[in-house]
Amino acid sequence: MTDRLVPLLVAVGGFVGAACRYAVGVAVPGPDAAGTLAVNVLGSFALAASVSVVRSRRFRYFLATGMLSSFTTYSTFAVQTASLGSAWGLANIGANYALGFAAALAGLRLGRRFA
């Protein structure tokens, strides 16, 4: 029952997602944390929307497990928060959490409408 294509789909999706995250970081002006905020909000919306829309199991491994999960990052967010100092660090947590959860909720609602 094991699908030997799955690890390949996850790896290719991970390549695309991580490279796109890097590209967004280069494109977004301002501090590095701004780029991380952008990918985390965008990726949370897209992943949430894909949950009920994408039916194909294989496509889900590529898009959700591979690409969209790798496009966003928790470790970079945590390290940047720790290095920002208390005021900007708290602002960074507030921005990622408030906008990330709002984006995920919006994505879940939108996805259910189209499912």
Partner: protein
């Protein structure tokens, strides 16, 4: 255009590290049966590793492959945000709050532990 071309090798390095990070995260998913605990585990372990990496004297390209690439992709904000939002949307506010706050505190402590280990 030139800035974009100059950034291309780095984007490829991040992609290579990212494909391995995504594979490792998938491995943890399989081992822990996916879901909330699996997302928590990768986010904490990846934050410890990235905290150690950025504190170490690793060369720039290693930081790009292993840090931005591997650790960046091994951990995930989107799966975490969907887990929390789904719990909240289903009225499980306590679970959502514990996941949101617990991941944050543990990951930040993890960054400190990683930095401490690298500084030894």
């Amino acid at each position: 255009m030139t800035a974009w071309l100059a950034a291309l090798p780095d984007a490829l390095l991040v992609g290579v590290g990212g494909s391995l990070g995504a594979l490792a995260r998938y491995g943890v998913d399989v081992a822990l049966d996916g879901g909330r605990s699996s997302t928590f585990a990768v986010n904490v372990v990846g934050s410890i590793a990235l905290g150690a990496l950025v504190t170490s004297a690793a060369p720039e390209q290693i930081l790009t492959v292993a840090g931005a690439g591997f650790c960046g992709a091994f951990t995930t904000f989107s799966s975490f945000a969907v887990n929390v939002s789904e719990a909240a949307a289903n009225g499980r506010y306590r679970l959502a709050a514990i996941d949101a706050a617990g991941t944050l505190v543990t990951a930040l402590v993890g960054v400190g532990i990683g930095a401490g280990l690298a500084g030894l």
